[in-house]
Subunit: 329 residues, 2 copies
């Protein structure tokens, strides 16, 4: 099986690559080749014996998607995106990468299938940013998409295209709306949601972090490990179970910033909590106010997707996967 | 006031043009100029004393939208679309006209506004085809968009773009989901929904019509006159009342084909009804089964949009507007 990952150098893309390399299989199929692309060249995964190609390309450039798809990968993970803050700040870039890039990819698959039968699995990472306030306290699976960011708009359009291309038989697609990934490892990116991770990741290793919103802000989270689990399940499950409603909200954990902080206190004590510096940022607070806080993800749950149930668990996953299993002394 | 109508040669476009020409004003503003474009050259409206430009152009061709918008119309009606049956049959054409054409137009306005402040009113005709079965018997304003046609997908994407471009301040836009227009005057077009009109319009003047579905098919209707009323109200109302949820379902009449036929019988007798020939068409029946049947349009009603309340009224409007006020002897 040949797997193409677009956006392989991003955090979720790296974790997915590492997992596929470690497993050596996707579902029942042996992974014989990985093609890893991103705007910066992705790293080769350690310990993988199959063929690996890596490339720094932009799928929103004409011709790039066609070339990648000409190799006829069996499964395509489309994770590439300009994040919310950047898509809001740079209108053209957001639409080019998040809308045109996605459409070029989907169209390349369609056109490849016109040469000879070809119908890969396509897993697209959407976002809860497709929803915009006001919404119910728990957002159900049939609530409408009225995004309040350009990023959310672009993701909602990607979902519509994915459903239509699947319905027309061009590929077998699923769009999964990831919760905010928490705790994101590594350095902060430009996502306006970065603070949800920063206020845990940094204090866990004795560093300061900035909290730009109030403690009563409620949000929807899942760990990087859970996100990889969503992607693998999406790539292997029977999609006929979805009908033509090919996009759905993944399960997650609804928690307030205050609840995050109390879980941090249980894991690392008062001295860690003291490292959180309050610096209210009206720009971020305004964006966050338009985001969803809680979901009824029963459809995803009934289809076998699973996530963490407490912030203690999310912090434990981070310590296991990123800090070698224990906090620094 | 300068008004640009894209899709001015279509049925709704012609009726809107005639009404604007007859009124000589839009809301409180005098209409000084009309620019009428379509893929075929629109006709000059009778009795209008202002400036009229007509042009046969395709707004999905590069550069066309920029040129039209360079004249800085105060209001833009974007009515142009490939209809549902044709967009399903010709994938590329549907996406080119319905998605690219709409995006080019919206982007032309955005780029014009970067040269010097410019923020026109934009009225976009969307469709109830943004909804896809299964849905509740009455579709509410917050129900999600899961279209089952490429046309519906393209309209849903247009709605998302319109909301985002309005939110970003590039124009002041509103998207109105028209019910199926009934009774469409003139010759049948390629819309799969054409029979809803054919079975009334043709028998009213003594001609045969084909009914491809069963009498218990329920659908959602408004007259051409009501549609023009929606457009004028959308072009003049205070859009701040909508917030950023700039797209909404227009009011209409939910009725079965059987109820249509009984209204025909009341208007024109058994001999008219006898002119309806049953010819079941599985392709059309399958498409129609995916369409919405009834709506809760209370949001539109509360914002001042109004439509007919019976098929007797819809037939009366047709006789007044298309047949000179009475049926042929």
């Amino acid at each position: 099986m040949h797997i193409l990952i677009i956006g392989a150098a991003g955090m979720v893309g790296r974790k997915l690559t590492e997992r596929l390399a470690a497993d050596g299989r996707l579902g029942n199929a042996e992974v014989s080749a990985l093609t890893l692309v991103d705007v910066v060249e992705p790293q080769h995964p350690a310990g993988f014996t199959g063929e690996v190609r890596t490339e720094a390309v932009d799928v929103s450039e004409p011709g790039v998607a066609e070339r990648l798809i000409a190799a006829r990968p069996d499964a395509v993970f489309h994770l590439a995106a300009i994040v919310s803050g950047e898509a809001e700040a740079d209108f053209d870039k957001g639409y080019r990468i998040n809308l045109d890039g996605t459409r070029f990819l989907f169209d390349a698959i369609r056109l490849e299938g016109m040469k000879a039968p070809y119908k890969p699995r396509v897993v697209f990472t959407s976002s809860i940013a497709v929803f915009g306030a006001p919404f119910p306290e728990k957002i159900g699976d049939e609530f409408f998409n009225t995004p309040l960011t350009s990023y959310g708009t672009q993701k909602a359009i990607g979902e519509l295209l994915l459903s239509d291309y699947s319905r027309r038989g061009f590929f077998d697609g699923i769009g999964i709306r990831l919760p905010t990934i928490c705790i994101r490892p590594g350095a902060p990116n430009k996502a306006a949601s970065g603070f949800f991770s920063n206020i845990l990741r940094e204090p866990l290793v004795g560093k300061e972090a900035v909290l730009p919103v109030s403690e009563d802000v409620r949000h929807w989270h899942a760990s990087p490990r859970a996100a990889v689990g969503f992607l693998l399940h999406a790539a292997t499950m029977d999609l006929d179970r979805l009908g033509w409603r090919r996009n759905l909200s993944m399960p997650g954990l609804s928690a307030t910033v205050g609840e995050q902080i109390e879980a941090l206190r249980r894991a690392a004590g008062d001295k860690a909590v003291a490292l959180i510096r309050r610096e209210p940022d009206p720009f971020i607070a305004k964006m966050v106010a338009g985001w969803a806080r809680d979901f009824d993800a029963s459809r995803a749950a009934s289809l076998g997707f699973t996530a963490e149930r407490s912030f203690d668990e999310i912090i434990r996953v981070h310590i296991e996967d990123e800090l070698g299993g224990s906090l620094p002394a």
